[in-house]
């Protein structure tokens, strides 16, 4: 049976150096429930190391955690990769790590905390997660697709780190699945500016608990999975993006 699912596909955890340390698995899940979210995409910068902890924290709860990552291409464009199988996100992580130079400076950029479901510190990631990978935008998108993921251009309404801000427009040849808009723009305005060729999804890009759900997308789906969302973006088999 198809029904509406409220989704926030772009949430950071305490692994992202720029995110609040309060972004623990249980904290995120609790806030997501408060906001009536049933689908949550976990997308840290260039890493997926907290995805399994989030899945663990949401176990037995009516909330689907999607394994994801916010990849930085060498043009410094942010692309979300979302996967049904955590293995897809972890494989992407392995490839990104192989193309991500530099080491984190905790004082300059912040802590990168790998935690378990209870929020206990497991270790500190030392990669320069805030940096850019050496992979071109097209390569990032094709990698995500090759791992059966969904590739969404992040916060296209912003100038910084967005495909439109950095590259002026979306290349015709790019097989992106959707454009994400931020909480800073209304759906109506976004539809005028970016609508037409690509479906739009709104998400919070939350870096702190109070930002979770500040923008969201309702999908008409059978269940809260990436493959269902893919069908909705393509308007297939009754699945659709509601608003």
């Amino acid at each position: 049976m198809l029904r509406a699912f409220k989704a926030d596909l772009h949430i950071h955890t305490c692994l992202s150096p720029c995110a609040d340390l309060e972004m623990s698995p249980r904290g995120i899940v609790r806030k997501a429930q408060e906001k009536n979210l049933e689908i949550v995409g976990i997308c840290d910068h260039n890493s997926a190391e907290n995805v399994l902890a989030l899945k663990d924290a949401a176990r037995d709860l009516p909330i689907s955690i999607l394994a994801g990552m916010e990849v930085t291409s060498h043009e410094e464009v942010h692309i979300l990769g979302l996967f049904d199988k955590p293995a897809g996100a972890l494989r992407l992580q392995e490839i990104i790590y192989g193309h991500l130079p530099g080491e984190n400076n905790e004082e300059a950029f912040g802590l990168q905390v790998v935690v378990n479901a209870a929020g206990e510190v497991q270790r500190f990631n030392t990669k320069l997660l805030i940096g850019a990978s050496t992979l071109a935008l097209e390569k990032v998108v094709s990698l995500i697709h090759s791992l059966d993921g969904l590739a969404i251009a992040a916060h296209v309404d912003r100038e910084g780190f967005s495909i439109i801000g950095h590259l002026g427009f979306i290349p015709d040849s790019l097989s992106i699945d959707a454009l994400e808009i931020s909480a800073a723009i209304s759906r109506e305005e976004a539809q005028q500016r970016f609508g037409g060729r690509w479906p739009l999804t709104a998400s919070s890009d939350a870096h702190s608990l109070d930002e979770i759900g500040r923008a969201s997308t309702s999908f008409w789906l059978a269940e809260g999975t990436v493959s269902e969302i893919r069908m909705a973006l393509l308007n297939r088999e009754g699945r659709k993006v509601l608003n």
Partner: protein
């Protein structure tokens, strides 16, 4: 000053459109945000950037820019080269940083007359 004079004086490497270097340069613009270049570069500007994505060719064409200078010896994507050749947009390369090459080009243009 023409694009070809700047190339000669600063030993820039010409990657594409060697037959399109006779254009008189109106000034320079340095930016890596293509949205900004689309909004603010002027026709026949020489554009200094480190972006190598194929969209730079379309932006140069759209704004009628004289040439693109890629800094720090950046290597463009194959699609960028192909597109620049087809669209007759000169892609030039320097080992200098954007700061240094901007300063050098500015000095050339300033002392022209």
């Amino acid at each position: 000053m023409k694009v070809k004079n700047i190339i000669e004086k600063l030993s820039l490497n010409v990657l594409t459109a060697p037959d399109k270097l006779d254009i008189e340069v109106s000034g320079g613009y340095a930016s890596d945000l293509l949205s900004d270049v689309m909004a603010n570069a002027r026709p026949r500007n020489i554009w200094i950037t480190l972006q190598t994505h194929q969209n730079i060719v379309a932006v140069a064409k759209l704004r009628e820019l004289a040439a693109i200078v890629l800094v720090n010896n950046r290597t463009p994507e194959p699609e960028t080269l192909k597109s620049a050749e087809e669209e007759k947009v000169p892609l030039l390369v320097t080992g200098d940083s954007a700061f240094t090459i901007s300063w050098k080009i500015h000095a050339l243009l300033e002392h022209e007359d």
